[in-house]
Amino acid sequence: MTIIPPYLQKGDTIGITCPAGFMAAEKAQTCIDTLHEWGYNVMVGKTLGSSSANYFSGTDEERADEMQAMLDDDSINAILCGRGGYGLGRIIDQLDFDLFKKKPKWIIGFSDITVLHEHIYANYKIAALHAPMAAAFNDGGAENEFIQSLKNALEGKKAKYECAVHEYNRRGEAVGELVGGNLTLVSHLIGTSSDIKTKGRILFLEDTGELLYKIDRMLYQLKRSGKLQKLAGLIIGGFSDMSDTERPFGKTAYEIVQDIVKEYDYPVCYNFPVSHSKENYALKVGVGYKLKVGKNRVVLEE
């Protein structure tokens, strides 16, 4: 059984850190204000709005130290990653999860944060929250159902998400632990100590800004490393901003997926609201869900 970190109570503290790319402090202000409104204290790490002049929010040491401090600090009840980008892979092996293992807390984020989610599930069987990060609160986002789904998840409310059917869906029902995240990172982690097992589980995948042939190649890697064979179900989220080569690939991202899973018979749904766009429900990685891909609707229920 997966270990579920304690849900939050009013007055609990959420730490915000940027373990990957740089983020200006003002871009996280609405998020901070909203978390206050939800009744939480917020502890902002130095990596948010740091003086870093390059791509990262700080040096490897600064980013690792801050994540480590938040993992170890008992007064921090959850850690929200300010943004993704790239950088967790550089520090993951420097982090020490000994205290975190004894006192698990929710780690929130997506995209590059997939590294952390997979790592703690693969090694410690601790659940994590694949959910919108700080910038998603801006421009009225704080009011939308996706940010609300994060609020509900933190409060311990069981999620039940519904979405429209897609013509490529394969109908059926599946029950299993939910694993996955960003396809680029799920494939990148194969063969490392952060690699997840997918057998009997519901896998969800999303990606953004990739060439179509690379999506195909990554899915072939998943397939050839045995990750697609024995799934309970497959949830395909947004594949936004796909680009193509000069000679067109000849398939959309969803057609690529459809082709690659045609030999299996588990349920598959497409265009599920988990993505780099606004549509991005909070999902508890490692927690058991029921997926129903029906004729008229798709339901994912904890």
């Binding site: 740089f22 002049a53 390059n54 791509y55 990262f56 790239y86 892979g89 550089r90 092996d93 494939s187 990148h188 982690l189 194969i190 063969g191 490392t192 100590s193 952060s194 690699d195 042939y213 195909d216 190649r217 990554m218 072939y220 890697q221 050839r224 490393s225 045995g226 990750k227 080569t245 000679r247 067109p248 690939f249 000849g250 398939k251």
Partner: protein
């Protein structure tokens, strides 16, 4: 009997190496299989196992290889097209399979890279290749095949330019183009390859000997966890890439490290890396390729060289994957040479 010596003496006699049967799971002491080298009149098959190419596009390669004394067999995927691919998966697999199984074809040159080899690799049957090894030639996406052959069968192959890199007009070609194309001929004829690289100040000096494996870094990463994934322990690894962002190159080197591929090397050869420019100055990665590589291998002692003439560039010489090499990295000289048939090894 020492297998290595046995094969060496067979090679010295010019004999083909028989198949070994079972696939190799741990090839740290890999029994190397070196296909028979080519002689005048031998047939080289040309096939598209990845991207699409026209018959016109392979004319310069055909003419040149015919001028070298080889016969050319044009596969039926040449000129075929399924969007980006040189035919459907089934067509590409069938063409490649036919050439693997036809004993008259003594070497197979992949017409070009692109993308597609991984889509057909599991459709191919290598049993005839095991009993009758032949050279398979290519790079970039063809790294899939090199890795697969090394991991599963220990069969050597040639990492080199392909049909789409032969100059249209040999008389107007640059020296580097001529030399690199000629290196394919020399490799196929059994010449012991020896290359020098311009010393880079950030090289890590030292000497290492081992089987050469490697190729396109992105392709190697995409094979991790699959049955085509290379084992690098005790080997010399070479890598090159093109069109990737610096952060992505960093992530791929972490991938090599975190999948254990950097820990027990005999040497690391870093070829050309054409880096995709950052989208904005704010995205500046703040590290050079050398920084990226050196921070990953700082705890290891094997030699490392940069700027080796292999990659998506004019300076891309033929390398024999799966063959033992000696890498010497000195302050004023860098060399990589074949040592499989070294007399000293025979004694």
């Amino acid at each position: 009997m020492n297998r290595k010596h046995f094969f060496s003496s067979l090679l010295a006699a010019g004999a083909a190496i028989p198949a070994l049967g079972a696939a190799l799971t741990d090839d740290t002491e890999n029994a190397l299989i070196i296909p028979r080298y080519l002689k005048a009149g031998d047939v080289i098959g040309i096939t598209s196992c990845a991207g699409y190419i026209t018959i016109q596009d392979i004319q310069p390669a055909m003419q040149q290889m015919e001028a070298w004394g080889f016969k050319i067999r044009v596969g039926n995927t040449i000129g075929k097209r399924d969007f980006t691919f040189g035919g459907t998966d089934d067509e590409r697999a069938a063409d490649f399979q036919q050439m693997l199984d036809d004993d008259d074809v003594k070497a197979i040159m992949c017409a070009r890279g692109g993308y597609g080899a991984v889509r057909i690799i599991d459709k191919l049957n290598f049993s005839r290749l095991q009993s009758h090894p032949k050279w398979i030639i290519g790079f970039s996406d063809i790294t899939v095949i090199h890795s697969h052959l090394n991991r599963n069968y220990g069969i050597a192959s040639v990492h080199s330019k392909m049909c789409n890199s032969f100059p249209d007009d040999w008389s107007k070609a640059e020296p580097a183009q001529i030399e690199t194309i000629l290196s394919i001929k020399l490799a196929l004829q059994g010449e012991k390859m020896k290359y020098n690289a311009v010393p880079n100040q950030q090289n890590k000096p030292g000497v290492g000997e081992g089987v050469l494996v490697g190729g396109n870094l992105k392709t190697l990463e995409s094979l991790a966890g699959s049955k085509s994934d290379i084992i690098t322990k005790g080997k010399i690894l070479f890598v090159e890439d093109t069109g990737e962002y610096m952060y992505s190159i960093d992530r791929m080197f972490w991938g090599l490290k975190r999948t254990g591929k950097l820990a027990n090397l005999k040497g690391l050869v870093v070829g050309g890396f054409k880096v995709k420019p950052d989208d904005s100055p704010d995205d500046a990665f703040g590290r050079t390729l050398q920084d990226i590589v050196l921070e990953k291998i700082k705890e290891y002692n094997y030699p490392v060289c940069f700027d080796f003439p292999v990659g998506h560039q004019k300076n891309n010489y033929a390398l024999k994957c799966g063959v033992r090499h000696r890498l010497e990295v000195k302050e004023d000289e860098v060399s990589l040479k074949e040592i499989y048939n070294d007399d000293k090894k025979l004694k």
